[in-house]
Symmetry: C2
Subunit: 327 residues, 2 copies
Amino acid sequence: MPESNTKPEYFVGVDLGGTKIAAGVFDAKRVLLGSAKFSTKPQRGADAVIERIARCVNDAVDECDISFKNVRGIGIGAPGVIDEESGRVLFAPNLDWKDVPLKKALEKQLDVPVAVENDCNLAALGVFAHELRGKPRHLLGIFLGTGIGGGIIIDGQVYGGSGRGAGEIGHMVLQTDGPKCACGSNGCFESLASRTAIFKRIFAAVKDGQKTVLTDMLGDDLKDLRSGDLRRAIRRNDKLVESIVQEAAEHTGRAVASLMNVLNPDVVALGGGIIEALESEVMPTIIKVAREHVMPGLFKGCEIIASGLGDHAGLIGGAVLARRMAK
Amino acid sequence: MPESNTKPEYFVGVDLGGTKIAAGVFDAKRVLLGSAKFSTKPQRGADAVIERIARCVNDAVDECDISFKNVRGIGIGAPGVIDEESGRVLFAPNLDWKDVPLKKALEKQLDVPVAVENDCNLAALGVFAHELRGKPRHLLGIFLGTGIGGGIIIDGQVYGGSGRGAGEIGHMVLQTDGPKCACGSNGCFESLASRTAIFKRIFAAVKDGQKTVLTDMLGDDLKDLRSGDLRRAIRRNDKLVESIVQEAAEHTGRAVASLMNVLNPDVVALGGGIIEALESEVMPTIIKVAREHVMPGLFKGCEIIASGLGDHAGLIGGAVLARRMAK
């Protein structure tokens, strides 16, 4: 039936985070047609958040001048452990969710098929399927932001592990006697190289009387410090920020090497807020240190790249997942 | 044809190491019928080593009073990077081999199908298929001996990664400023918790004047120190050996937790000489520290066990591989 073949098809990707909800509407060629953003407000409870997701999706679709009935599916990334078959969010500490039937509740509200995945897995799927056009067999996505998460693609499929908890690369121990991590351990990758870790070290240095242009830019309390400010400070030749950011990049390089030694992927793709803001500052260090620490032979044939998708990786991954489900 | 069904079938597993070659002959139920051991003598070159492997296999088969013509296949584990399709050993530093056509050369000598795998992958396959009867979906094998290696089973299959180099878990960085590792990095898991690392710390402590019963047992130069001596010393209440071994076990626990966070396997199986000699001394510490460092939720549903196969894991894995190939 040629009619149904030419009927337009749209897919919505949703990135559900602890502070914001983003939705993007894509056509079948994964061109972004429109998007919307809401704050999450997890303190209002799961039902209220799910209703906000539905409104965010509706607003994004409305943005595009398309008919909602041509939306074939929605793919959502949530920050936690997901049972992707039932679409339940088993555990999401940032949302304070335990066993929330996200897929079922959202399908009831929107009357469209919904697929749910872990947010980092979905971002890795976006990088794999869209940016790298499904070419590498094995991909490791590393997302550096407030925290550090990973998504593993093996043989072109998201690898979830036994209990859908694989990819918690932020909690590899890199420095046994390192700083305390939110997970309870010491010296996790996340406690050494996340935005939170970098900010903590800057706050401590400023308290300690060390000089940085950041205080000229933002005041002594460094209120509203963001990743972009780090880039601006480094470009103004700020030695303190430069050395703290470079140290985090070195830790990241060692983590990349460790993961290359374990997983031997075709591609390691780095993304997230830190990479978006500081790509040219940190990538050369990350690649250099990774090369120094990887086993002889394992560097060959593996590419380390900065993803160009930025914050959109998760949204695109959602659209990819939605389309895979609709097929 | 009932006749061919009742014809006996045998499979040979071979463990090729830098110092010794071991071969074991198994029946279809994986009962070990006979074995043989040779020194490797890698300095004589690849052709000589391959000829020694062939003689070792012949001797093992001769041991069992069976006919060589009922041997259906040989599975070999080699210490290095293997191209398992062609059966070439691409890179094996302990043997000083580069691109050796092991499969082809051995098939020519023995006229039996040969399959080649990385030694740790093969040991993991032995634990998976024989000891755990193929039950876990995802298994991580960790082998603690002179060095530290890993084998990863995903969805019941050996996971080799992009360049067949996956599972080099001994070279995860656990302590950024830790001891120098043979690979060139600092603070690798292997540099902190292998037999070599434990021995080095004992030698240094003795040189430093610290007391241990090991010098009573073996003389001041600790010549011929073996893993079993560590167990004997600990049972004689030797505080120095106890603390060095426990420290290595703690590093192992952190490595296990890191790998559980990344891979979320169903089972982590520990094996190798250290575990064989010191299981009851180190396993409680490894499990306790792993539990403390793994992400909340990821410990549930994952078992950490000591493999009971000991040195036989690789041989049994070889038999499993040989049988899979013959089918």
